[in-house]
């Protein structure tokens, strides 16, 4: 790495750039001594103190990328070894099942829900209108800022850090209910149903398609196009929800499913006892994923698309794609092939690991059952990676977002929030934190699946190897400098 990289501020000049480049801007400074502080506070502390006090007599040492990535793998492996020391099943359950009930009177709940839903419909209309007629400067357009900074980054973060409020917020649910009423049908009346054997696979395809459009089209910079895409999505979603009822949001709509999946990581949970506060991540240990086909694939897809979104903005990707496109392969085809192949690789690795568990735990439990049993443990990984990816972006653009919301038609010029230099270290900690939480969730779930202690511990060997692979991949992507995805 060079000093130039280090000095390049993650958010300086944000307002000059297009939104899509800003989206990854927070990633630029991850190359320096981030993980050193985590693994070896004393050592790096000394190195820095030296270079500080001797004023240049000792050259400041920086940790190369490969060592940062390797350290990430070591931290996950070590946290697994550490977790194996915790074998008191009752004590683990005491942590995982702890909950504090929160008051949630049904009457108040219904009013809040209705109000939030109506507000969301108004916001949706405003986003589409301003997208079509508002200013075209990305950082002054309400539609772009609300959708990318406010919703895709900020709101998504709230679903795993606080709780999944999407079922109440979702404006398309309210719109579909309205259209249903106009057509004179009761809420529960459903015209047709999706084939059972499709399971939730439609949402897997939908998620991959959504991220593909997000990466290859300029909807991150062009408010008119964004408004058109939102209108298109609205038509499809409302039509689908009217035709298939609630099953649409449960099995097809990728947005609702992403928030529902992230919501399981959150401390605020809703269950049959009402609203309750949990230790973050412990709700994941309540039950395995559902039995419908595609449940595991969706979680793996969620993990993969966040990685893909970062991968296509690395110099390595640009260097790899250039020769392929220069021999005449259409760039859009390359992007879709890698999207699908990468998903296949992530899913394949996870499936292989699940099959190996049958040997390592000496069990007759089927591989499919093991897949869905441990899949909830992948969700904190996806959430940690999302936080690392988008928190800086959200914070940097929040002043612009606030200004535009206050004055949508003629927003004042704003400056972006400049993030402190330690923020890149914090981002690496988000990735690692997600993985460490994942190790705990897998550990807890293993104890519910296998009798005794040793089989439960041994059952985790393959998935720990997979988690180390995922951690190192994510950290590598996050430490790369930002390069705009080429050819799109």
């Amino acid at each position: 790495m060079t000093d130039g990289d280090e000095k390049r501020d993650p958010s300086a000049g944000v307002v000059d750039r297009t939104l899509s480049s800003v989206r990854r801007a927070g990633r630029q400074t991850g190359r320096h001594a981030g993980l050193a502080t985590l693994a070896l506070v004393a050592l790096t502390g000394t190195a820095r103190a030296h270079s500080g006090s001797l004023g240049g007599a000792v050259t400041s040492a920086t940790v190369p990328t490969w060592l940062t990535v390797l350290t990430g793998g070591v931290v996950v492996g070590a946290s697994f070894l550490f977790t194996t020391l915790l074998t008191d099943h009752e004590a683990m359950r005491a942590v995982n099942w702890w909950r504090a009930g929160l008051p949630s009177p049904p009457g108040v709940w219904r009013v809040v829900r209705g109000g939030v839903g109506a507000l969301a419909v108004v916001a949706l209309a405003a986003v589409v209108a301003i997208g079509l007629v508002g200013p075209t400067t990305p950082t002054r357009n309400l539609a772009l800022l609300v959708v990318w900074a406010g919703w895709w980054a900020g709101y998504t973060i709230s679903t795993y850090l606080v709780g999944n409020t999407w079922p109440a917020v979702n404006p398309w649910r309210a719109l579909a209910a309205g259209v249903g009423r106009v057509l004179g049908r009761a809420r529960s009346e459903v015209r047709s149903s999706l084939p059972e054997r499709w399971g939730v696979w439609p949402s897997v395809v939908g998620l991959l398609a959504l991220v593909y459009v997000e990466v290859v089209s300029p909807i991150g910079q062009n408010p008119r196009l964004l408004a058109a895409v939102i209108v298109g999505y609205s038509v499809v979603t409302v039509a689908g929800a009217v035709r298939y009822g609630a099953a649409w949001f449960d099995r097809v709509d990728p947005v609702s499913r992403v928030f529902a999946a992230y919501g399981r990581v959150a401390p605020l949970q809703r269950d049959e006892d009402g609203l309750s506060l949990r230790v973050p991540g412990t709700a994941l240990t309540d039950e395995p994923l559902g039995e419908r086909p595609g449940e595991t694939a969706f979680v793996v897809a969620l993990l993969w698309v966040t990685t893909y979104d970062g991968l296509v903005a690395t110099p390595t990707w640009a260097n790899a794609v250039e020769p392929v496109v220069s021999v005449g392969v259409p760039a859009l085809l390359v992007y879709v092939l890698v999207l699908v192949a990468g998903f296949g690789l992530f899913l394949g690795v996870y499936r292989l690991a699940s099959r190996r568990v049958r040997d390592s735990a000496e069990t007759y439990v089927t591989a499919t059952e093991i897949e869905r049993w441990f899949a909830p443990a992948l969700l904190p990984i996806a959430a940690g990676y999302h936080l690392a990816h988008f928190l800086g972006y959200f914070l940097a653009l929040s002043p612009a977002l606030a200004a535009v919301v206050a004055n949508p038609l003629a927003p004042p010029e704003t400056v972006a929030l400049v993030l402190p230099s330690w923020f890149s270290t914090f981002r690496l900690l988000c990735v690692l934190g997600g993985h460490v939480l994942a190790v705990w969730v897998a550990h807890s779930l293993a104890f519910e699946l296998f009798p005794g202690v040793l089989a439960a511990i041994r059952s985790q060997f393959p998935s720990v190897v997979v988690m180390i692979f995922y951690t190192m991949t994510s950290l590598w992507v996050i430490t790369q400098p930002y390069v705009p995805p080429p050819f799109v």
């Binding site: 020391l85 702890w98 000496e362 005794g452």
Partner: protein, 100 residues
């Protein structure tokens, strides 16, 4: 008003015995097959209401677990120590402490 008495209801997992395999043991209560009597005895003690004889077998299996677990933990602690040391030395080498 916090509590931890919530009992998560975990389903009995689906199992499949390979054709060329003869399951050594099965649970007398739920028929779940096991690759060894040790795992079966543990399962019966944990998941069902065992008879006095089954309880004895369960406790014997727990004793075996305790011994094996001690050995495993010894290895895990050594593994943690080695990993920690290797990482420190690697950082010293890469950052050029002058010692390595």
């Amino acid at each position: 008003m916090s509590h931890t008495d919530h009992a998560a209801s975990f389903p009995e997992p689906a199992t499949r015995v390979p054709e060329d395999d003869d399951p050594v043991a099965a649970c007398p209560y739920c028929d779940r097959p096991f690759q060894g009597e040790h795992a079966r005895d543990l399962h019966v003690g944990e998941a069902h209401d065992p008879t006095p004889e089954e309880r004895d077998r369960y406790e014997a299996a727990l004793d075996v677990e305790r011994d094996d677990l001690w050995l495993f933990h010894a290895r895990a602690v050594i593994g943690l120590g080695v990993t920690y040391t290797a990482t420190v030395i690697l950082y010293m080498a890469v950052l050029g402490s002058g010692i390595v």
